[in-house]
Assembly symmetry: C2
Homo-oligomer: 352 residues x 2
């Protein structure tokens, strides 16, 4: 018998597509021989994730399956599996439950983010908010957080607590971002602090936990944490660029969400700082509008183009990718360490 859960997962995305989505087709080609092993890892992680999703109440199951199976890059599970193998493991089974937990936490935070941002689209389909309504979106997020902690309960308390701290940071990042909305005077440091909380800490915690589970030394655990933090920032900087310069079809959502919602990113912060006179005032005025027309969004983009903001954000991304790669120095050399290095680089060059 096929359960509704199995049916939904029948549309599972193959690894090559996931990797392409995450890092571009080029990175996928370079993965070469590692692919079968990683495909097995991701499939094991997906099994654990599946195992906790079904609720006794079918409509809730439907909403969380929808959220968990609408594409997504599986970045965190992929990095965790690669890191665990980079530490010498031949099976990634010991990290499967935790990787599933981090994936669920990420998904829960996106569902609630979309409620806060009134986002209609996510990954080429209606957001959970749009498809199931506000009550279901709130509850589905709560449910996924809870299931994530059930998965994490298999691990020692220190790992559960690190996971909790990362989630608390995520919540802080969300409130911090909310308080800075429509305000272009947010500083570069404040922006990086939001990104660290909203994206980087959770990737960092995921990778540090992999080191713990492998019984690594403190310096390896710290190296993985630093790598995760830097990759998380690089990844988010690229996200911010793609929101203004990407291809909507590849991204699965319309451009200019950050302009529209008034979320300052390094791109708009740098643009604003480099503009002068009337264009600067216009940029500020347009950015602060609660409702923006399509041509106002486009105007923000063309004003941005009159500044070096895009190049500066690209350079910042490369800086963090390089930081991530340097952080890996204490890890043993090998194909999976090379893969982690390649993935850090690809995070800043990917097109979707």
């Amino acid at each position: 018998m096929t359960s509704p859960a199995d049916a939904a997962f029948a549309h599972e995305v193959p690894l090559e597509v996931l990797v392409s989505r995450a890092f571009g087709a080029e990175a996928f080609l370079e993965l070469g021989g590692l692919l079968p092993e990683l495909a097995e890892d991701l499939s094991g992680i997906e099994d654990r994730l599946k195992s906790v999703l079904p609720s006794e109440y079918p409509p809730l199951t439907e909403a969380v399956l929808y959220a968990c199976t609408t594409g997504g890059k599986r970045l965190r599970p992929l990095l965790m599996a690669a890191a665990y193998r980079a530490l010498g493991a031949t099976s990634t089974k010991p990290v499967h439950a935790l990787a599933a937990a981090f994936q669920l936490i990420h998904t829960a935070s996106l569902i609630h983010d979309d409620v806060i941002d009134h986002a209609d689209q996510r990954r080429g389909r209606p957001s959970v908010l749009r498809a199931f309504g506000l009550p279901s979106a709130i509850v589905a997020g709560d449910y996924l957080y809870v299931r994530a902690f059930e998965l994490a309960s298999e691990y020692p308390q220190a790992i559960i607590l690190r996971c909790g701290e990362a989630c608390a940071n995520l919540a802080e990042g969300e409130v911090l971002q909310e308080s800075g909305r429509f305000d272009l005077t947010v500083s570069r440091d404040q922006y990086l602090s939001i990104v660290t909380r909203k994206t980087a800490t959770i990737v960092s915690a995921a990778l540090a936990s992999v080191g713990d589970i492998a019984g690594s030394t403190a310096s390896i655990v710290e190296a993985l944490a630093a790598y995760g933090r830097a990759v998380g920032i690089a990844f988010q900087l690229r996200d911010d660029l793609l929101d203004a310069y990407g291809e909507p079809d590849l991204l699965g959502k319309p451009l200019y969400a950050d302009f529209r919602e008034g979320n300052p990113t390094l791109l708009s912060i740098e643009a604003y700082q480099h503009l002068e006179g009337r264009p600067k005032l216009e940029y500020e005025r347009l950015f602060a509008r609660r409702e923006k027309r399509p041509r106002e969004l486009l105007k923000l983009r063309t004003l941005t183009d009159q500044t070096p903001a895009q190049s500066l954000v690209e350079a910042e991304g490369h800086h963090w990718a390089a930081t991530a790669i340097r952080a890996l120095a204490p890890l043993p050399q090998g194909p999976y360490r090379s893969l982690l290095e390649r993935l850090a680089h690809a995070a800043t060059t990917r097109r979707y």
Copy 2:
């Protein structure tokens, strides 16, 4: 130095007020000599709760402190402390963290409930939604769930999992309730299933965990679980009655929230089943209105009064209180078992 957290907790509500709130002044008087011990227990639990609330980001701390210190009956911590003492413990310290966790879960669910129900008031003050806005309300709820699981991480995996299952049930209950809104043909059993999920399972899990922590036999753990389930249902039935027949000043919120939001309770389900002809059609029509005027709410109440619904719900409450009291039979006799029995009874007679 006084931290903002301490300052907020300086308004802490004394135990006698908490107990009065939860079970009426009469119950408080009957507590007699148990009071100093329980006051110490609740204060210890409050300390643990306080210890995890502060965020590095002050506005988030403010929102969660607001949510956690606006009155509230501390029903779950009180029942957990009393149950632990009923099992022979002379210190309740081993259950403090878990009691704090259950209180946080309860608070988190109320914050998200108020978002879903657009509720402006809670415990005589603006709801978190109204006081801090939707983004903060969503994030504050997430944050409290996470902090709850951090507290629960001190305990064996079985207890964390039971806590998680109860939270998952809570989420299911919320979606189940949502799907039945504005619909009076919901059956009595469906209603009890919602109440069990939304209120009773979490009280049941809290009390069963107390038995586990005390190292009790399986029959004692099951007795406590059954007691918690029945008290939870009795408590919720009384809540439903108070929403139509209580005193708004005592309740800290306006009457008729269930009528207004179209949440069928046993009261409206019974009223609807007993009405006939035109009044039945009018009841159905008024209940289904998305926006209701004050006189329409009042009309629903007066139509309810033409049926035996109020008495039937009272009788149902007494049935569950009696079920709870009977469930305690395997526990050793003593003042704390008597207290648990008294509290079950008081749950169905309290005025606020």
